[in-house]
């Protein structure tokens, strides 16, 4: 497989790795705590997309068994290809975890603002340097 082919075949992975690095970069490079939380969200979203990508089966449809009155419980004669539902279910849980993390991070940011009077990390660090 040539490199162009492998790039185009794996474009979803390239996209989500790029997204992940954007998130990680924001977490590391930004001093604003709210932006850090947003970066963390993007980072988590990339991981969630990874699971969603892997659930896709080529030509697959939504994993709901169609109701066929003639053949109760059957496929109506032909095979149906379903996408894998399990990763989606897992990601529902992961999204809940992500929401909880975001909520807690924002609550902490509010308290940091209350304690330091700023939401900027560098200013808070400078304040700590000064006041111990």
């Amino acid at each position: 497989m040539s490199s162009v082919q492998s790039f185009s075949g794996l474009w979803a992975y390239w996209l989500l790795i790029a997204l992940m690095m954007v998130g990680l970069y924001i977490v590391i490079a930004r001093d604003n705590l709210i932006k850090k939380v947003m970066g963390l969200n993007i980072f988590q979203a990339a991981a969630i997309l990874f699971y969603v990508t892997m659930a896709k089966v080529t030509g697959g449809t939504a994993p709901i068994v169609p109701h066929d009155p003639a053949h109760p419980g059957g496929h109506g004669g032909h095979e149906i290809v379903y996408s894998n539902p399990l990763p989606h279910v897992l990601m529902l849980t992961a999204i809940v975890v992500g929401v909880a993390t975001t909520a807690l991070a924002l609550a902490l940011a509010v308290r940091i603002h209350g304690e330091y009077g700023t939401s900027e990390e560098d200013e808070a660090v400078a304040y700590d340097m000064e006041h111990g």
């Binding site: 990680l24 977490v27 705590l33 850090k36 963390l40 980072f43 988590q44 991981a47 990874f50 699971y51 892997m54 399990l86 990763p87 897992l90 849980t93 992961a94 975890v97 909880a100 993390t101 807690l104 991070a105 902490l108 940011a109 308290r111 940091i112 304690e115 330091y116 808070a124 700590d128």
Partner: protein, 494 residues
């Protein structure tokens, strides 16, 4: 019988947390959570007796057969962890901190116990479950709870430390989730034993190697392996003292189990330590942790910070045991989980006593405190001696087996370095003991009014100090179980 009550180990604290939120009575919540943890401890001990000698207890949630359903599966390794976590939770919760954490008003204190119970439920869940994604969920439950607990510390910087901990912990959690995702892609299953059976790790398979890398880095953040330890010193030194004691004694221990389980059970020692040669990374990092973190501890002027840096160094000993990948060394690492929990938990409880009576744990403020608080200071000395690894304490037991394991592997230099790093521990412990017993009290901070800590604080601290000596002299139980767990892990089982 026992497999029916196995699931209660996680369900009880998980359900007790909302009960605390609803009842809103701090005294009730305190004794209620203590009672729940006592039941969990009893279950854990019963499980440990049940599975000793190679037994396994399994529970299928909702009656779904594994590998499709989630399975709770307890062997010696898990039972050891469960007993450790519940025992430490029991001792720390019985510590009477006289008014709870400083930033929590009386009418909100029930929430503190609710979060504590959630943290315990998460840690027990990680240790008990046999499902990879379930581990991620419990990992995040315990982590979220511990961020909250850390943020309740009295100092302004506690909140900032909790934020750092959250950012680092979440990155670690996402790495873990990605690793599990890749494993699912490779094997099509989430059941740990099923993954282990289906996975055929090889260096040519990039997906597997990437999964291993993501899992190891993710867990290493939570475990505070040397270059990823940055969150730990702040989190432990600004958290409420009781929380520091609990987290130091349990959270990193459970992460260590997770790392060992991933390396030995899922990927298998022949691949990780034979083909991939992970020890080439893990061993230098462990040794760096032992020296640099101990070195940093020497220069700390705050006792809590000193102990926190020492914790990073102690994680180095544990991962050193892991990287030997032989039964003696791994058992040394596993027995150090218990031993370090006992001594560091005890030391942080001593810190809580000192904070309550003296108001500060700055080394200068502790000058001459040994005369005013003899029992607290004595517990401090026992814990300190154990950190150094003096014979007759638990620290010696761990180091003995670690050094034996390292020598068995033929790494003479590493064995010498373990002994040399003990000298650094001698320096930082000596610094504290010198201040507490031999230095004159600072004039600006008179300690004439300082009295011995109350019994409700002293007793738990002394239980752990006594355990540090008792299990230093009797190693049959601790090392016996650890050895069995190590052999089980090396054979690829859990």
């Amino acid at each position: 019988m026992i497999e029916k009550i196995l699931v209660l180990e996680v369900v009880l604290p998980l359900l007790a947390a909302p009960v605390c939120v609803l009842v809103r009575h701090p005294r009730f919540c305190r004794f209620f959570s203590l009672g729940i943890v006592a039941i969990c401890f009893w279950i854990a001990v019963a499980l440990l007796f049940e599975v000793r000698g190679g037994g396994v207890v399994s529970y299928q949630l909702g009656g779904w057969q594994p590998p499709l359903g989630i399975e709770y599966r307890v062997s010696t390794v898990n039972a050891y962890l469960l007993a450790l976590v519940t025992a430490m939770a029991l001792v720390v919760l019985s510590f009477d901190s006289r008014g709870g954490p400083p930033r929590v008003p009386e009418q909100r204190r029930h929430l503190y116990y609710a979060v504590f119970l959630l943290c315990i439920a998460g840690l027990l869940g990680i240790a008990i479950t046999g499902d990879a994604f379930n581990i991620f969920v419990f990992l995040e439950i315990s982590s979220l709870a511990s961020y909250i607990l850390v943020s309740l510390g009295g100092h302004r910087r506690a909140v900032m430390s909790a934020f750092y901990y959250l950012v680092m912990g979440t990155i670690g959690g996402v790495f873990f989730m990605l690793g599990v995702g890749l494993l699912y892609q490779e094997t099509g299953t989430l059941n740990l034993r099923d993954i282990a059976a289906r996975l055929e790790p090889s260096l040519d398979d990039r997906g597997t190697v990437l999964a291993l890398a993501l899992l190891v880095v993710g867990i290493s953040i939570k475990l505070a392996v040397f270059p990823l330890h940055h969150w730990l010193p702040n989190a432990y030194s600004f958290a409420p003292p009781k929380v520091s004691a609990f987290l130091a004694a349990t959270a990193t221990k459970v992460s260590f189990y997770l790392l060992a389980m991933v390396l030995f059970t899922i990927f298998g020692a022949p691949f990780v330590f034979g083909e991939l040669r992970l020890q080439a990374v893990l061993l230098p990092l462990s040794i760096l942790a032992m020296f640099l973190a101990s070195g940093a501890a020497i220069f700390q002027t705050d006792l809590r910070r000193l102990l926190a840096y020492s914790s990073v160094a102690q994680v180095g000993y544990m991962t050193l045991g892991l990287s030997t990948a032989n039964a003696t060394g791994l058992a040394g690492g596993l027995v150090h989980l218990f031993n370090h929990a006992v001594m560091k938990g005890g030391l942080f409880l001593v810190v809580a006593c000192l904070l309550y009576r003296v108001g500060s744990v700055h080394i200068d403020a502790l000058a001459g405190i040994g005369r005013r608080m003899p029992l607290t200071a004595a517990a401090l000395v026992i814990g300190g001696l154990s950190l150094i690894g003096v014979p007759g304490t638990v620290g010696f037991v761990s180091k003995w087996y670690l050094v034996s394991g390292v020598l068995e592997r033929g790494w003479t230099a590493a064995a010498v370095l373990i002994l040399l790093s003990s000298l650094l521990a001698l320096v930082y412990v000596g610094k504290v003991v010198e201040a507490v017993y031999f230095r004159k009290p600072a004039e600006i901070q008179p300690i004439d009014q300082v009295r011995e800590a109350p019994l409700g604080m002293l007793a738990p601290a002394w239980v752990l100090a006594a355990a540090a000596v008792f299990f230093g002299l009797t190693t049959n139980w601790t090392y016996g179980v650890a050895r069995e767990a190590a052999e089980l892990l090396l054979a690829g089982g859990i």
